[in-house]
Amino acid sequence: MAMKANYLFRETGSNLRRNITLTLASIVTVAVSLALFGIALLLRQGVDNATQRWEGGIEFVVFMNADASAAQLQAVADALDASPEVAKITFFDQDKAFEEFKDLFEGTPELIETVQPSDLPTSFRVVPSDTDPDAVEQLASRFETSPGVREVVSAQETIRNIESLTNIASFIVLLGSVFLLAAAAALIFNTIRMAMFARRREIEVMKLVGATNWFIRLPFMVEGMIQGLLGAGVAVGAVFGANWALDRYLSDRNSLQLLESFVVATEDVWRTSFLLLVIGVIVGTLGSAIAVSRFLDV
């Protein structure tokens, strides 16, 4: 094939510069498409996170009377310990409860001011080993009548609703992201084909002067790769931006502990970004290669 690297880079560079309209068009298309896809992926990640957190959070809380004696506390703790269905127990004394209260109401300091640790009840947070809601309820009800217990609260109804909600949300987002990926592929390929169409005469002339298919194809592929990379780069920016915006939106409203679970780990954002770059490069390179082939048999 005997193509000199210097020819390749010169050729690619000047093509990118000269056909600036087409270059920009391709980059915009790749960027928009991949940004949509990337955001859909993150959303799905968020939904999964939330589901996991909530499922992991199936628990019940045994609230003690404020005047429960140490012996009563110990008795309840022992009973919980002895139950094989209990996976984990956390004792929340008044200080711990106050900490949690402060976390929850971070946004409204005036509320925190009015509350004293001693106003809050002590409680046991119990994580059952079997997360089946019925089993949890049965377990919880056993402690309702223990001395010193004020109330046992389990959130089975909520959990059932939330589970079905996140199921459907996750499904919709998955569907959406697959659809977006297909749409992105169609749009990007479309754009590359149009760019090639505008340059079909040029390709024809190259062939007539004795250029082999690879000699013509390679600069187009490198060009496509760079466009894909740049477009994906913009998309990555958009994804980070969207993630940041969501973060902010959620932390503005963080009185709702529920929503915090939507936040996606930075690691996930990086992984998604990497995926977008790979897709961008592959689509750009292969798309160009395929699109140019249509005009190569002269």
Binding site: N6, E204, G210
Partner: protein, 225 residues
């Protein structure tokens, strides 16, 4: 070097551009292809370049039947053939220098060769000053001369020239014809389609005349008509 055997070419099944044409051109010959507008001269040339396929008959170039040539070999065939196209076919996004250099880069010539040859050949066609212009910034005659330079630059075995002087003034035409003659004398086979009576009559080389696709005359040391 070039041989056509009963070659027929019809476009869209109707227009007979070439009809049962047979013709043999030896190595080192200089052949004028003449005939009225639309008589099939460009078609004749495009068939030699494998830009078009014949409907019937066989074509040999440099000893090979180009009808049976596999498609990946076509570029290598074309590298042995320099072609001056009637509509120039310059690459619109490359400068004059890059257009000429392209013909050398395609065959993998090293950089220093490209750097030497390109200015030399442009000098020869009188375009040294236009080296860095884009084709659309040139006059018609200048574009034609770039096309000529590109066809020459890699010293092909065969030179196909489709009206290479159509857009040139008589003085420049004479210069180009001298150049073609010189190239021919080094052993290159030249096939040139032309309308220029003066050139044909002065040069007195072999003349093949086409009329509505048929070869009506094949005369050594002929005149335009």
């Amino acid at each position: 070097m070039i041989k056509l055997e009963n070659v027929t070419k019809a476009y869209k099944g109707e227009v007979l551009a070439l009809h049962e044409a047979s013709c043999e051109i030896n190595k080192g010959e200089f052949v004028f292809l003449v005939g009225p507008s639309g008589s099939g001269k460009s078609t004749f040339i495009r068939l030699l370049n494998k830009e078009e396929q014949p409907d019937k008959g066989r074509i040999f170039v440099a000893g090979k039947d180009i009808g049976t040539l596999s498609s990946w070999k076509v570029p290598y065939l074309r590298r042995n053939i320099g072609c001056i196209f009637q509509d120039f076919k310059l690459l619109p996004n490359k400068t004059v220098g890059q257009n000429v250099a392209f013909a050398l880069e395609v065959i993998g010539r090293p950089n220093h060769v490209v750097r030497n040859q390109v200015p030399a050949i442009l000098e020869l066609v009188g375009l040294s000053k236009k080296m860095n212009n884009l084709p659309h910034e040139l006059s018609g005659g200048e574009q034609q001369r770039v096309s000529i330079a590109r066809a020459f630059v890699n010293r092909p075995l065969i030179l196909l020239a489709d009206e290479p002087t159509g857009n040139l003034d008589p003085a420049t035409s004479v210069g180009i014809m001298r150049l073609l003659d010189r190239i021919n004398r080094t052993g290159t086979t030249v096939v040139m389609a032309t309308h220029d009576r003066g050139i044909v009559d002065t040069m007195r080389r072999r003349v093949v005349e086409l009329d509505r696709g048929t070869i009506v005359r094949d005369q050594a040391r002929g005149v335009y008509e």
